[in-house]
Symmetry: C2
Subunit: 459 residues, 2 copies
């Protein structure tokens, strides 16, 4: 089997160089590329340049493409004549690290403890993205070529809604032509259970501020005679979800494509220990929409979560004021069929309809993206199954995920391709929370799987 030789050499090379890769990843994680905070935008550009340099060093033709926001790194290696083309997407930006005081070691000082690398972005998405950079590097180093053509699109605004990516994809559409997209920004199903994700939830993200009196008022002198914007906001937000966990925005469920019986059975067959799940989160019980299991609630039912709420005094002790204003940040996770734009409008209307006298409502639409469902019977999916089996030593399960990767929808719409969602990390890696980490074994297995993927897609 002469074809078996190159991949063996590549996997051997990856085994031999795993320690160096961890050191390189730490360098990447040290850059505080928080896209949500404008004072960190220079750091985002440093991270972009770091990715550029890595891909150039591999032997890829690399370009930093400016957008109206943060740049996209585009790179290509197209010497596998007649072979298919894969497009790898990832993002070099990370979530804000707050709350800072809950990190055991600082978020931007990557630290290894108990076989894990702790840092903001360790899993989401710097660590996972890096596996693909290092797998193509290994192919080129060990064999001088890749079994297929590979393109990279690495953006810097994923955590703030990828506002400039769609324009990038549309203007660069011809150059980005490919047969399949590959993204590692999801997770394994569980420890030692690798997974391919065939469905994702969509999202809408908004902010609402209620302005009451022009400044904070004495609650004794004025309380009872003016609308308190904090009370008003609580009252509004309190009506969003009923006691059965059903979202009350009119029309919210109208377009939902329900889960099939086959999917519900497949989800139910997956190992899931609810007690352990609760324990890992530090809660005494799960909760959510009546009539659905925990996996169904997480993967395939829409949500309405207040991500941040603030108004009035937050210091020590009491303060007797009627606050001048109050703000809530809200995201809804959406499922196949739901239209983010339509539901953002419905949510705004739902809130405006409840706005009481003496209050001015300001509504901000941050971004939105529809949910995704991929074809599970394609040859690309078969190649991905083989890759995961090689990398992790076990056949993957087919799952959905609750997170949102809007670009998957854009790839389908603009480039006409499906996406392989191959997650190397774990849900317990604390992505978006304090003490985010990446298991070093997952980092290594993911890199091996990525290397195998190029071979499988090429054969």
């Amino acid at each position: 089997m002469p074809n078996a030789l190159p991949i063996q050499a590549v996997l051997q090379h990856l085994d031999d160089t795993s320690e160096t890769r961890v050191t390189e990843l730490q360098e990447f994680l040290r850059i505080p590329s928080v896209s949500a905070v404008s004072s960190h935008h220079n750091d985002c550009r440093t991270a972009a340049q770091w990715v550029h340099d890595q891909l150039t060093a591999c032997g890829f033709a690399t370009e930093t493409v400016e957008t109206d926001g943060l740049p996209v790194i585009y790179a290509e290696w197209l010497k596998a004549e007649g072979a298919p083309t894969a497009l790898v997407y990832g993002h070099y930006d990370v979530q804000p690290p707050d709350p800072l005081d809950e990190w055991t070691t600082p978020p931007f000082e990557p630290t290894i403890r108990d076989g894990c690398l702790y840092a903001r972005g360790a899993t989401d998405d710097k660590g996972q993205l890096f596996t693909h950079i290092k797998s193509v590097a290994a192919w080129l180093k060990a064999t001088g070529e890749l079994p297929i053509n590979v393109k990279f699109v690495i953006e810097g605004e994923e955590e703030v809604g990828s506002n400039n990516l769609e324009t990038f994809l549309e203007t660069q559409k011809d150059r980005l032509a490919c047969d399949i997209a590959v993204i590692s920004d999801t997770a394994q199903y569980g420890d030692g259970i690798p997974a391919i994700t065939y469905g994702l939830r969509g999202i809408l993200a908004v902010e609402v501020t209620l302005h009451g009196p022009k400044q904070d008022l004495h609650s004794g002198v004025f309380g009872g005679a003016v609308t308190n914007p904090v009370n008003a906001l609580a009252k509004m937000l309190g009506t969003l979800i009923d006691d059965n966990g059903r979202i009350q925005v009119p029309g919210f469920y109208d377009d939902v494509i329900p889960l099939t019986n086959e999917e519900r059975e497949a989800f139910a067959a997956l190992p899931f220990n609810e007690q352990k799940f609760c324990q890992s989160l530090g809660i005494d019980a799960v909760a959510g929409e009546a009539g659905y299991t925990t996996l169904e609630r997480r993967w395939a039912r829409p949500t309405c979560d207040i991500n941040g709420l603030y108004g009035g005094y937050q210091g020590e002790g009491p303060k007797t004021i009627v606050p001048a204003k109050a703000t809530a940040k809200i995201t809804c996770r959406l499922v196949p069929g739901q239209d983010p734009h339509k539901l953002t409008q419905a949510l705004e209307q739902f809130l405006r309809d409840q706005c009481p006298p003496g209050i001015r409502l300001k509504f901000t639409d941050f971004h939105g993206a529809p949910a995704v469902l991929c074809d599970t019977s394609s040859p690309y999916m078969a190649a991905a199954r083989l890759a995961l089996e090689t990398g992790f030593g076990q056949a993957p399960v087919m799952i959905r995920e609750g997170g949102s990767i809007p670009v998957v929808g854009s790839f389908k719409q603009i480039l006409g391709v499906d996406t392989l969602l191959l997650g190397w990390g774990r849900n317990t890696d604390n992505l978006h929370g304090p003490n985010e980490h990446f298991h070093l074994e997952d980092f290594h297995h993911g890199t091996l799987a990525s290397a195998q993927l190029w071979a499988a897609l090429g054969s």
Copy 2:
């Protein structure tokens, strides 16, 4: 009329020294004596010492009495044999200055603009308190004596619930014996309409925190399957007040002593321009309990105001998390008949009854005090009427106020005396908000009224 001579000399002296008094008050206001913030407790002690020095300089026997918290300044001048004794109460602590960015000039850099002195505490209560110190100083300077005996009790924890004052009053009960208490910590009815306040609302102050998952979670991975503590808190707080402005805590109105028809008529006869009221607050409409006027809502109906609410992300842009916890600070203004302790328990129970699965509720009782109603037909009230007419050149109206001065209840209960609530400031002075100020003419008129009060009470 030989009795007229001493007061004339005192009033003349006060007219001659008004500029110096403003400079001295600025010195007092420069001390950031914020009792709610423990890092400011040394500043509170500096303010206490400043009061101590002022009273000593007047010729009063002064003592700094330590408590379990911040000290009380006690001072006395008891040489008016056979004359009645008045006890002046005030506080040298101030509210926190937040939100700092809304102050035109810094809160602890007292600045004169357009006839007003701007600073945190300018009216509440340093400026008003200082009128009484300077009126006794003027009597002693101009005539060598006071027409009555005067005691001062100046505490430093009024803005955080006067937790140690009751113990002080009880242990010093004999020394504090008096015929009438005097407090200037209320307001005039309106510009040029001096007032005597015969009723005050009580208060209860609490904090509630909902703890959900042990840390912030990714809203895509976990959203929909765990109770979001911010959503849960909004839902709870949203049920506190119904669409008619009625508080829904069971039993909340059970013990309320309703306004008499005479009081409602007297309130209705007071000049009140609702449009101007709204304009001054920057709102387009008043709101509150159905069936009551704005004055009734402010002075004689209970409230439930959220003073502060916070949970999750507060930075720029969106952040897709399920927050770990959420906190609300709540105060209820209470009216005659309502028991703060009983209602604090009822509020806690009301919230606990709604606590959903997956949430741990922590409840903190900050403090409470019942409402007050004073006898409007006493000779002390008559003396106060004369004092205000002298100081402000106009007969005062009889009003209630919406604020809470818990010590008035303690004076009645422990010392057996009524309190004269003589407010020199205005409701538009922004007490507790940014840009708090004191009209210099009110400062002067209040000092004259105080000087006249000692004569009137002595005759």
